[in-house]
């Protein structure tokens, strides 16, 4: 199953090292993270040592070796958001979801990460949940945001 998907992804690119990052990006997009066996398959098919694949996967922050939540929460920590109070907002999410920055909740519903400037500084501080942008968030509005996505 994984193998077939990997073969299909690799088929879109030139089969050499320079495609490694693009391939990993597509794998990440497909699974929401980089599963172990997918990395082994990529390493075999592109003929790149697994250690190199792993070092790329850990160097670049776009990649995650852990599954992310169904509702990935991204708190913007860009400069504009920071000066308008993003740090307390992040901490409020940590308290509300019971997970720290970079973690995923046990039921795989939520994950919490920080990002940098998502390009709507006018709405700072900004939080993204999946594709939805929530602007002008303050820590007291955090529970209202998460409520929308809770089962």
């Amino acid at each position: 199953m994984t193998q077939e998907i990997i073969t299909e992804i690799i088929g879109k690119y030139e089969p050499d090292q320079s495609s490694l990052i693009a391939v990993l990006q597509d794998v990440q997009e497909h699974f929401g993270y980089l599963p172990k066996d997918a990395l082994t398959d990529v390493s075999k098919e592109l003929d790149v040592p697994l250690s190199r694949v792993l070092s790329l996967a850990t160097f670049y922050s776009a990649f995650s070796l852990q599954p992310k939540g169904k509702h990935p929460v991204h708190v913007c920590m860009g400069t504009a958001c920071h000066v308008r109070g993003a740090q307390p907002v992040l901490e409020a999410f940590e308290r509300e979801l019971g997970i720290k920055d970079g973690e995923t909740s046990e039921d795989l519903e939520f994950s919490l990460d920080t990002v940098r400037c998502v390009g709507c500084c006018g709405l700072a501080p900004v939080v993204m949940v999946g594709e939805d942008v929530h602007g002008k968030i303050s820590q007291s509005k955090v529970s209202r945001v998460t409520k929308k996505y809770k089962k």
Partner: protein
């Protein structure tokens, strides 16, 4: 081409579909407009067009009516039926949906009369809000690709290079290196029979800037056209656009634009019948700030770890796969077609002695009009902050402006009349950088800002060289303890020493410039550091561990009638009291989150 049978519409409604407007429901507005226009039977007269970012993000969702340049803002779906009927059917513009400056009584109907737009000079952003970025014909209709035709059919490569040199254009990605000179180096470096490459740097690492994104999303052809002209000038056959991972819309717009350009014979083999071959590939970044640095970026394109290497050799000699490579920033490329079209003379008339043309800034932070602004070099900070930006919100006092992102510094209020160019910013300890401009007011803590940037660079240090990796970590630890009230008097000297040694010994620009935010805040705001260290207080109340939250019982009871909101919101159960009684903070339990302060509508919660 389909142009011939395009209908002539009486009105074009330009709906902004930039990121901020989209998150403010601009597509809902677009649908509502189309629905209402159909309902009124105006579909043959009025056309709804979605455009890239208009710049005035603060007021979104936005609509500009052409011809006439009538500007509507902060639209809601419920406003649309009235707007369509009054303005587009009966010809009576709707005043209450127009922009009204904070202190004035009457609205300003015309976009170009609004201060935010008035002082701007649009070169890189020339098409913003005027075209649909997904339609090459609209770009062409506004002189698009005419510079390319001129460069390919009327100019020798050397002439193109000279024109760009004479224009005085300098790199907009941070360093400010003269673009024409760089092109000349690349064109002269030997290739040993190999190819030369062109790269567009769209990694946009500054966490407070989004102009490159906006250009790629709003006008991708401007960048593509610039790159083809550059390719002709230096003799390259292949180009790469490296786009930051978080910009999927920019990527999809670019993909479309490249396909359309190929379809029109503007890319690929024998461009415009001139015998010149060139094509462009998109490479997506993978989320590492250091990849904005040119040598790291090239490593990343080659599929390797994005780590910088020492220069020389510069990319102009040994770039991608060791071949000569010309790398320029998105905004730099977008300027090129205008220079070719309108001449170096015209361009170099704008700006200051050393810095020509315009610069796009993302004006954000504690400012009324947040957004992207393109201004002539030499404009003063005051003009940007007061005239274009409309000043500081809530009557607060302007304290400083940060430029240059993590590599730049904080410029204090006393320098508000500084004319901005590459040199003047460096003189005050900051830099141009990619154009982030973050405004700070009296509620911003400068120690916290310094800590924010150092924590950023520390996180983003690729780890290859020790001064950067360990030095920024040590600086972070010192700043962290100062903001927690554990700072020592010698910490200030320690910070200065560390800053100097990192500056002198780090391998790449990330490390060399990382101390700048700390050095400038130490230079201009040392007193704030001292108050944190000696009095264990944060004057701006940002460093929350130094704050004490209390409730003024009289206000709570008399004005708020003990509304109980704070107690309900306190996640630490640190507030005692019940409805209609005075409340108190139980200090031992309080985690200093500040929620009570935020939620109390009666100002009963005090912070000290």
């Amino acid at each position: 081409m389909e142009k011939a049978n395009e209908k002539a519409y009486r009105l074009h409604l330009m709906v902004c579909a930039g990121t901020a407007c989209v998150s403010n429901n601009s597509f809902g507005i677009k649908d509502a407009l189309e629905k209402e226009i159909n309902k009124q039977g105006l579909e043959d007269e009025v056309l709804v067009v979605t455009t890239g970012c208009n710049g005035f993000c603060e007021r979104g969702p936005l609509l500009v009516v052409q011809p006439g340049n009538v500007f509507y803002q902060q639209l809601e779906e419920k406003d649309i039926p009235h707007l369509v009927e009054e303005h587009f059917l009966k010809g009576r513009p709707v005043k209450k949906l127009m922009y009204k400056p904070p202190k004035e009584k009457s609205p300003i109907p015309i976009l170009s009369d609004i201060n935010f737009f008035k002082k701007q000079v649009l070169i890189a952003l020339r098409n913003r809000g005027l075209i649909d970025p997904e339609k090459i014909d609209e770009y062409i209709a506004r002189d698009g690709y005419s510079a390319l035709a001129k460069a390919l059919t009327e100019m020798e490569p050397k002439q193109i290079i000279n024109e760009v040199k004479d224009s005085g254009l300098r790199g907009r990605g941070g360093g400010g290196f003269p673009t024409g000179l760089k092109w000349e180096f690349v064109s002269k470096s030997s290739t040993n029979g190999q190819e030369r490459y062109i790269v567009c740097n769209g990694d946009e690492g500054d966490p407070g800037a989004f102009m490159d994104r906006s250009i790629l999303e709003a006008d991708p052809h401007a960048v593509i056209e610039g790159m083809i002209i550059g390719a002709k000038a230096i003799g390259a056959s292949k180009g790469f656009v490296y786009v930051r991972n978080e910009y999927p819309l920019a990527v999809s717009r670019l993909i479309k634009a490249l396909e359309q350009a190929r379809g029109y014979g503007l890319l690929g083999k024998d461009i415009l019948g001139s015998g010149f071959d060139f094509d462009i590939k998109i490479v997506r970044g993978a989320g590492a700030f250091v990849c904005g640095e040119e040598t790291a970026l090239m490593a990343s394109i080659e599929g390797r770890l994005g780590e910088p290497r020492p220069r020389p050799p510069y990319p102009a000699e040994k770039g991608l796969w060791d071949n000569p490579t010309c790398i320029n920033n998105v905004e730099t490329w977008a300027n090129v077609p205008v220079i070719i079209n309108r001449s170096a003379d015209w361009y170099s008339n704008i700006g200051t002695k050393t810095s020509k043309g315009t610069k796009v800034f993302s004006l954000v932070g504690k400012i009324n009009n947040t957004g992207l602004v393109e201004v002539p070099m030499g404009i003063t900070l005051r003009e940007i902050i007061e005239d274009i930006g409309g000043g500081i919100p809530d009557g607060k006092k302007f304290k400083a402006v940060q430029t240059g992102g993590p590599s730049g510094g904080c410029i204090p209020a006393k320098n508000i009349d500084l004319p901005i160019d590459y040199e003047s910013l460096t003189e005050v300890g900051s830099m141009m950088g990619s154009g982030g401009m973050v405004v700070m007011d009296e509620d911003t803590c400068m120690v916290d800002v310094a800590k924010y940037f150092i924590s950023f660079t520390q996180n983003e240090s690729c780890g290859k060289c020790t001064p950067c990796r360990e030095g920024t970590k040590a600086m972070y630890e010192i700043l962290d303890r100062i903001t927690k009230g554990e700072g020592k008097e010698e910490d200030i000297d320690l910070l200065e020493d560390l800053a100097k040694s990192i500056k002198d010994s780090a391998l790449c620009g990330l490390g060399n410039t990382a101390p700048n935010p700390v050095l400038t805040t130490l230079k201009y705001f040392k007193d704030e550091y001292e108050i944190h260290i000696k009095e264990k207080k944060c004057p701006a109340h940002v460093c929350r561990e130094l704050n004490t939250y209390t409730i003024d019982e009289k206000t709570c009871l008399d004005v708020g009638h003990g509304c109980d909101l704070c107690r309900k919101n306190c996640s630490a159960n640190a507030i005692s009291g019940e409805t209609k009684t005075a409340h108190q903070v139980i200090q031992e339990k309080c985690i200093k989150c500040g929620v009570c302060y935020d939620v109390c509508r009666f100002d009963a919660v005090k912070v000290k």
